[in-house]
Every structure is written in structure tokens, then in C-alpha cells.
């Protein structure tokens, strides 16, 4: 029997005005029935494009080409668009997407959207379709499935919508399911449920599944086979445990070192230097060569062959035997820095928002913070974790003095924060935000952006400003020549460094970082986490770090506060909370966090 899916030499090009993007190059994958293929890779590596090419959902102008494209022995390339949409898209291949909030049509009921695929194909009668839809909704764990049929998407939570998406895809009983980052937008606890669900369904129905994710741990946990993509190419593929526990390609190896691991003692992360390659002109040699620490002459002359490695997996590199990584863990530089007095204390903070659900509708109150007390000590890194909507950002804004709580008091340097002049406050604490794209004014040059806090403080001397900006750039390890660049000319990681430089230019004692790395790729996250470690070591920075990633907490925090529904549910030294959580919620959070069950030795092998 042939394989369920066999694709060879898939290429996708996107013509742009003036040049052409080679977004997918020479990609070959195959998949057996009932198996899961995980595709991992950093943002922009071409994961989605490969999947969309299979579904013929590429942007209008894109051109896809492959030497083989077979589903269940059927050559997909011979089908015209009409037949493809009737026979393949839906009944054969189902696809679910990352954005559960927008992937359902807001103006139609769940029921209608679930049933229309089958109805329009005339597969089932109206009654049967309805029955089946309700069954599937029940199966994916939607409470009161019959009632949901007449509801609209906006009446469901994100996790529920994703479940509806899955049920909807299953309506046509596809033999292959493509899940493109199905859980990225969801909380870890929900993420685990959804992934479990997908796993179960695959097993029940003997479906093939392609699971696309940038989260190596997710893929490691859930797939049989893994393909690692970089710059539009597959640079390593094979069985999951082989590829991710014993990576052969230098890139995969670097990636593994860049991720904080819950199971290991925290240490410096191995950041990959440089940035992702441009896809405009295909390189002659190895696509990873510019960033590779094993770069050789012949790396850039010819494209390396796919090389077999221990039978189970293969990698594309000039090195005949995979390099061995150094085994020692470099300890964090700031480990063990002394902790001083409380510098910011919040006592009994309540924050109530009044919103209207509908135009002129009744007011609704949201208790975003419920009697929260917390203190930040000089020199420590305090992590604040909790699921989405638990009030972390709200608390951060209050601590920064950007918002007034409904009740409760914030004291900064032993004075009520309201008594501090804005400048005094600014000199003491500075924020760093999650989204490096929105945290820099796109209309200002870096020099202006970084100098701004000083100007606001009244500094007018351009020499002083220039010098301060230069120093700030040095601190965040950005080259001086970027001074006159605009934010749009920087990568995400560089932008985040600029944001940090701006925060540091006034030499504050404390930083409040709201998910500073969650919008970034792991390799960039490693750079930022290392930088924070450096700053702490060099400047004794106090840091409040908001995150939803347990591994990050593990990596960098001294102390951790866990929030749920606006309340603090657990608080304590980081390692203690991670090892022996006392609260059920914290336990769930930890259990749901995807992880590599690996030892230090394994990584080093």
C-alpha cells in the first residue's frame, strides 16, 4: 500500500514587484496513515506555505511546483481546481488554523458552518448532518452541543472555537488533517487539551496528521516524525526522538541550546548569532552557513546533500558526522546576586473595569484584579505567571503608575506612587512590552526613540544625549550605526533591544517587563533572556517579569507569583514553586507545559 502522502521537491515562489521570494524550496515530505508529522521551524521558515501549497490555498500570485504530490496514490497535480475543491479539500484533507478567533465566519451560526460542507456536497441528509455535527461537537468536548448549534462564534471562548474548528473539519471525515499552529494562540492548559484531543482523534480514525508548530517541545511530544525547516528548506528530518533528542544539523543543535529547559538547571542559553536569511535569491550553498559556527569553505559553494544519520533520520550539511556540542552548562552570570529591601509594594489592589457588551447595553463589571498584594525587592527577578486574562498586564500598568487602581495602594521607594512626580517615577522604573513592533514609534529614528526619556526629563544638551544613547546601545549590544535607522528596518529581536535601551537610558533601578519574549522566536528569545541576565549581573537591575512560559520562569526568575482570575494563588521562590507547587492551578499549569523529558547529557550527546 502506498503512503498516505508523498510530496517531493515542492517549491513555492512569490513574485513581488521587482523580485521573487523563494518561500519554499525543494521540500519533500511523506506520511503514513495514522501517523503524525511535525513540522517545526522559526517564523517565516515556510511551514505554512508548504501546507497551503498542498491545500491550494496559496496567495493568488504564488506559484507552486513539485515533482510528486500524491495523496493515497492519487496524483493531486492532475486535478483541476474544480475537482480538487470538490474531492480533496474537505473530504480528503482537512485543515485547521492558528487563529481560532477569526477563522469562523462571524455572521453565521456554528450549526450552519458545520453542516454546509456536507450539505452542499449532498453527502448526507439534513437530519443526519445535524446528528453528526452534534455528535462531533460532543466528541471534541463542547458542553451542550445541541444548544451550541444555533450560537454564533463570538459567543464561544477561543478554546471552544478551536474545538468547533476541529469538529467542523472532521465533518467530512478527512484522511489527512493539517493543523497549522493550532494552539499557539491558546493558554498552555487549553493547548494541552486540544493537542490531546487531536491525538485521540487521529488514533481513533487512523488519520494522517501534519502538525505545524514553532514550539519544539510540542512537536517533540506529539509527533512520530519531525521535519525541521529553515529559510524555506527542510534541513533535517526523521523520527521525532532522533531529530529532537539527537539533532544532527548544526541549526537544530543550536536551536535546542537556545531553549530554556524545565528539566535542567538554568544556565546561559545558546543564542544563534545573526538573523534569518533573505529569501529573495536562493543561496548557492548551505542556507544556514552565514550563521553556522562550523562554517567551512565548501559550505557556500554548493548545496549540501541530504545526509543519512543513524538510519532513522537525515540532515542537510557538509559535515559527514554531526558535530558534537560542548557539554558544559555555563551558569547564569547573575545567579546568586543579593536581594535587598522592598522597592515596590502593592497592597490590596482591586481593579474593576466597567464595559458595555453591546451598544447602550447594560454595564458589566470585570474584576480584573481582586485584592492583590505583592512586593518587589531590590535586585531580584520576580516572575508573574498566569493564563490569559488573569490580570497580569493590568497589574503591571498599575505598578508602573500608568493606571490608577480602583482601590489599594502602590508604594514605590516607600512613598505612595501618586506622590511621586512622573519624572521621579520614570527615573526609578521603566517598562518593556511584549510586542516589539508596537513599542517603538515607527516615525522616529532610533536615536530619537532612545533619547526621548532623557529629553522628557529636561535634558537638552545634544552632546549629553548623544553620549547617553551611545552607551545605551552598547549596553544592549546594538551597533552604533543603527542610530539613524527606523524601527521598520530592524528585526524583532533588535527592536526589543531598542526598547530595552530606551528603558535603560535613564538608568532606572527596576524594569517591568510584560511578556518581553513571547512574540519572538526561540533563538531571539535566548538573546533577550541572556541580555536580561547580563543587565542584572552588571547593573543589579530589579526586574518584574510577566510571562506565561514556565520554562522562562525556570530560566530567569528568583521568585514567582501565580495569578488566576485576578487573584494571587501562589507565591514563592521560583525553584520551589516549580518543583513542589502547592496550588492545584499551578500544578495544572506545570503539568500542561510542554517539555522535553531530557537530561543535560542527552542534549550534549
Amino acid at each position: 500500500m502506498s503512503k498516505l502522502l508523498e510530496i517531493n521537491n515542492l517549491s513555492v515562489t512569490l513574485p513581488l514587484p521587482g523580485n521573487t521570494l523563494h518561500v519554499v524550496r525543494d521540500v519533500s515530505i511523506s506520511l503514513e496513515r495514522g501517523q503524525t508529522l511535525g513540522i517545526v521551524g522559526e517564523s517565516g521558515s515556510g511551514k505554512s506555505m508548504s501546507a497551503l501549497a498542498l491545500m491550494r490555498l496559496l496567495p493568488r500570485s504564488a506559484i507552486a511546483d513539485a515533482t510528486t504530490m500524491q495523496l493515497d496514490g492519487l496524483d493531486l497535480r492532475t486535478l483541476d481546481d474544480r475537482n480538487f475543491t470538490r474531492q480533496i479539500a474537505g473530504p480528503q484533507i482537512g485543515m485547521i488554523f492558528q487563529e481560532p478567533m477569526t477563522s469562523l465566519n462571524p455572521v453565521y451560526t456554528i450549526g450552519r458552518q458545520m453542516t454546509e460542507g456536507a450539505v452542499s456536497r449532498g453527502l448526507l441528509s439534513g437530519k443526519q448532518v445535524e446528528r453528526k455535527a452534534i455528535d462531533l461537537l460532543e466528541r471534541v468536548g463542547i458542553p451542550d452541543p445541541a444548544g451550541r448549534m444555533s450560537q454564533f462564534p463570538h459567543q464561544l471562548s477561543g478554546g471552544q472555537r478551536q474545538r468547533v474548528m476541529i469538529a467542523m473539519t472532521l465533518m467530512l471525515d478527512p484522511t489527512l488533517l493539517i493543523a497549522d499552529e493550532p494552539t499557539t494562540a491558546l493558554d498552555v492548559t487549553v493547548q494541552a487539551q486540544i493537542l490531546d484531543l487531536l491525538d485521540d482523534l487521529r488514533r481513533e480514525r487512523q488519520m494522517g496528521m501534519i502538525l505545524i508548530s514553532h514550539d519544539l517541545a510540542v512537536v517533540a511530544e506529539r509527533s512520530d516524525d519531525v521535519a525541521v525547516m529553515y529559510g524555506g528548506e527542510i534541513i533535517e528530518r526523521g523520527d521525532a526522538s532522533g531529530v529532537l533528542r539527537a539533532p544532527a544539523h548544526p541549526y537544530t543543535q543550536s536551536l535546542m541550546l537556545a531553549i530554556p529547559h524545565l528539566g535542567m538547571a538554568p544556565g546561559r542559553l545558546g543564542a544563534i548569532p545573526g538573523t534569518v536569511p533573505s529569501l529573495v535569491s536562493p543561496p548557492k550553498g548551505c542556507i544556514f552557513a552565514p550563521r553556522c559556527s562550523y562554517r567551512r569553505e565548501d559550505c557556500t559553494t554548493a548545496r549540501p546533500q541530504m545526509r543519512d544519520h543513524d538510519g532513522q533520520h537525515s540532515y542537510r550539511c557538509v559535515l559527514e558526522t554531526p558535530p558534537t556540542r560542548h557539554a558544559e552548562v555555563i551558569p547564569l552570570r547573575a545567579a546568586g546576586t543579593p536581594v535587598g529591601q522592598d522597592v515596590i509594594t502593592a497592597t490590596n489592589i482591586n481593579q474593576v473595569f466597567e464595559t458595555r457588551k453591546a451598544l447602550f447595553g447594560a454595564k458589566r463589571q470585570i474584576q480584573a484584579l481582586d485584592d492583590v498584594s505583592l512586593s518587589l525587592k531590590r535586585g531580584e527577578t520576580l516572575a508573574l505567571i498566569g493564563e490569559s486574562g488573569s490580570g497580569k498586564s493590568t497589574l503591571a500598568r498599575i505598578l508602573l503608575g500608568l493606571a490608577q487602581p480602583t482601590s489599594g495602594q502602590v508604594r514605590m521607594l516607600d512613598r505612595p506612587v501618586a506622590e511621586l512626580a512622573p519624572q521621579e517615577r520614570a527615573a526609578f522604573v521603566q517598562p518593556i512590552f511584549q510586542d516589539p513592533y508596537s513599542s517603538l514609534n515607527p516615525r522616529r529614528r532610533l536615536a530619537e526613540i532612545i533619547a526621548r526619556p532623557l529629553q522628557l526629563r529636561g535634558e537638552k544638551d545634544s552632546k549629553v544625549l548623544k553620549q547617553a544613547v551611545g552607551e545605551a546601545l552598547d549596553i544592549v549590544r546594538l551597533p552604533q550605526r543603527l542610530l539613524h535607522a527606523y524601527p521598520s528596518q530592524l528585526s524583532g529581536g533588535q527592536r526589543q533591544r531598542v526598547a530595552i535601551a530606551r528603558a535603560l537610558v535613564t538608568r532606572p533601578a527596576a524594569l517591568i517587563c510584560d511578556e518581553p519574549t513571547s512574540a519572538l522566536d526561540v533563538s531571539v528569545q535566548a538573546q533577550i533572556l541572556n541580555l536580561l541576565d547580563d543587565l542584572k549581573a552588571e547593573m543589579g537591575l530589579t526586574c518584574l517579569l510577566i510571562t506565561h512560559d514556565m520554562a522562562v520562569v525556570h530560566q530567569i526568575a528568583d521568585r514567582v507569583v501565580v495569578m488566576l482570575n485576578g487573584k494571587v494563588v501562589e507565591e514563592g521562590p521560583a525553584q520551589q514553586v516549580l518543583k513542589t507547587p502547592t496550588n492545584d492551578y499551578t500544578r495544572n499549569l506545570l503539568a500542561a507545559a510542554p517539555r522535553f523529558e531530557m537530561t543535560n547529557a542527552e542534549v550534549a550527546s
Binding site: 548569532p273 514609534n441 515607527p442 526598547a499
Partner: protein
């Protein structure tokens, strides 16, 4: 290996990227619609500027015995008057040329006044929200609910027509578009993190508005400005057509159309020629506006 070091190769690759301004310029110069529009506007602006040099006659000099001569291509024309004469025997071409001055002055003046009002209100409403926003929204509804042309007529009526009055009134009546756009843009920008960063650095609302918000509204304001330019020019011509706009004998295209209207069946050029001038100017403004909008919107051509 020091991990926080950025490889120079990557940085150099980025440095070859263009600044936003360069990208803007490049995209402008490759947008046909914009180029046509800008060309039209530039030509007309030059004509307005050099009107005294270009006009073959004094636009106010009348020869009553040579009234309503047809243009050069029609029978009975006088080669001295290329496009014929109007009902007072004034050279039509010269009047059309001088008419550019009226249209452009009014267009720019009114669009500026509208911009001042609309952007100020829009930014205030968007930035402060709450009661300020409600009050400004009410003002907006009231303004929209007033039939603009009627109000303009009534106002011109009161103050007495002159070019400055027309500029003021057309301007005062055309701020809503600016307001709607800048209000929502301000709301959006206000919620962005760089504003929070500025506030956290101790910036006052004034400083935030001037330094962080306004520069980001600039491109949208320019786009609206070009559209409003066209709208104001049309509004002036409508008012003049209804007889409550520009004062005769000042040559305004709308007025010329109104004057030529009576004779339009026998001397259609009296209506058609100023109509075409008006059309070209306004279409120029609109093409420019469309072009700018395409260029400033991130997805390229997408209104």
C-alpha cells in the same frame, strides 16, 4: 562564542534596507495614478502661479461689442480670443487661467481650515475619550445632520460673499472626514505600547500628542487633505453656481458655468470648458489622494 553578539553579516543585510521615507518615495514614483494626479495638480498650480504671464488678455477687460465669441475652432471666432469670450466680452481663456487661482486658493485654504478643526477635535476625542469624546461626537452628528450646502448658503448670505468667506465656510463645513479618521487612528495609536512607554517616561498628554501621535497621523492627514482639496474645490463651484460663492467679476469656474448655463444650448463651450477644467483639477486631487492612500496603506493598493 559570546551569544549576545550579533553577527555583522545580518546587520549589514538590514542596513541595505530603505528608510520608510525612501520606500515611500519609491512607491510614489511607481504609482501611475499618483503620477498622473500629481502631474495634473502641478501643471494647474504652475498655471495659477504664472497666470499673468500665460493669460493673453486681462481677465477683467471687457469689450461689450465682442461678446460671447466662439472658440477658435468654431465658426465666427476671432483669432485674438482663442477660447472665445464670455457675456461681457472678456477673454475666456484668460478667465479660465485666472480661475485656477481661485480654485487652488480655495481648495488649499478650505482643506487647511478643515484640517485644523478636524485634526484637533479628532486627536482630542481619540486621546482623551470619555466626556470629551462624547461631546465631540455630538458635534460631529450635529454637523453631519446639517445639510452642508444649505448651511453654506445661509452663512455666505450672512457674511456676504468674498473669497475669504467662502474659504472659511467651506473649511468649517469640511472637517468631519479628518475628525473621523484621526479620532480612530488616535484611539488605535494611543493603545500602542510606545505611547505607554512615553507616559511611563513622564510625558504629558501634550508631549505624547505632539511627539508620538501626530507624526503617525501625518500620512493619513495628507491623504484626506488631497481628497478634501477636491471636495472643497467642488463645494466652491457649487456655491458659486448657486450664486452664493465667489463674487463676480472674479473668475471662478463654478460661476462661469452658472453664467454660461443660460446659453448652454447654443454656446455649449461656455459650460463645457470650465467644467473640464474643474474636472481635471478635481480628478488630479483625487488621483493623488488615491495614490497616497495606496502607498501609505501597508497592503499596497487597497483603499
Amino acid at each position: 562564542m559570546t551569544d549576545t553578539q550579533i553577527s555583522t553579516t545580518g546587520v549589514e543585510a538590514e542596513m541595505t534596507l530603505l528608510t520608510p521615507r525612501q520606500i515611500f518615495r519609491k512607491r510614489l514614483l511607481s504609482h501611475t495614478g499618483f503620477l498622473i494626479g500629481a502631474g495634473l495638480i502641478a501643471t494647474i498650480a504652475l498655471i495659477a502661479l504664472f497666470a499673468p504671464l500665460l493669460a493673453p488678455h486681462d481677465p477683467y477687460a471687457q469689450t461689450l461689442s465682442a461678446r460671447m465669441l466662439p472658440p477658435i475652432w468654431a465658426e465666427g471666432s476671432n483669432p485674438d480670443y482663442l477660447l472665445g469670450t464670455d457675456q461681457n466680452g472678456r477673454d475666456y481663456l484668460s478667465r479660465l487661467i485666472y480661475g485656477t487661482r481661485v480654485s487652488i486658493t480655495i481648495g488649499i485654504g478650505a482643506a487647511c481650515i478643515g484640517m485644523l478643526i478636524g485634526v484637533t477635535l479628532g486627536v482630542l476625542a481619540g486621546y482623551f475619550g470619555g466626556i470629551v469624546d462624547h461631546a465631540i461626537s455630538f458635534l460631529l452628528t450635529a454637523q453631519l445632520a446639517l445639510p452642508g450646502l444649505l448651511l453654506a448658503m445661509a452663512l455666505v448670505f450672512i457674511i456676504g460673499p468674498s473669497i475669504w468667506v467662502v474659504i472659511g465656510i467651506v473649511g468649517i463645513l469640511h472637517w468631519t472626514y479628518y475628525l473621523v479618521v484621526t479620532r480612530s487612528a488616535t484611539q488605535r495609536i494611543r493603545s500602542l505600547d510606545f505611547v505607554a512607554a512615553a507616559v511611563a517616561s513622564g510625558a504629558t498628554p501634550r508631549q505624547v500628542i505632539w511627539h508620538e501621535i501626530l507624526p503617525n497621523l501625518f500620512s493619513q492627514i495628507i491623504v484626506i487633505f488631497t481628497f478634501e482639496l477636491g471636495i472643497a474645490i467642488l463645494a466652491e463651484s457649487s456655491l458659486s453656481f448657486l450664486g452664493v460663492g465667489i463674487q463676480p467679476p472674479t473668475p471662478s469656474w463654478g460661476l462661469m458655468i452658472a453664467e454660461g448655463k443660460q446659453a448652454m444650448f447654443y454656446r455649449p463651450w461656455l459650460v463645457v470648458l470650465p467644467g473640464i477644467c474643474l474636472f481635471l483639477l478635481v480628478i488630479g486631487a483625487n488621483l493623488m489622494g488615491d495614490g497616497l492612500r495606496d502607498i501609505t496603506s501597508p497592503e499596497g493598493r487597497n483603499e
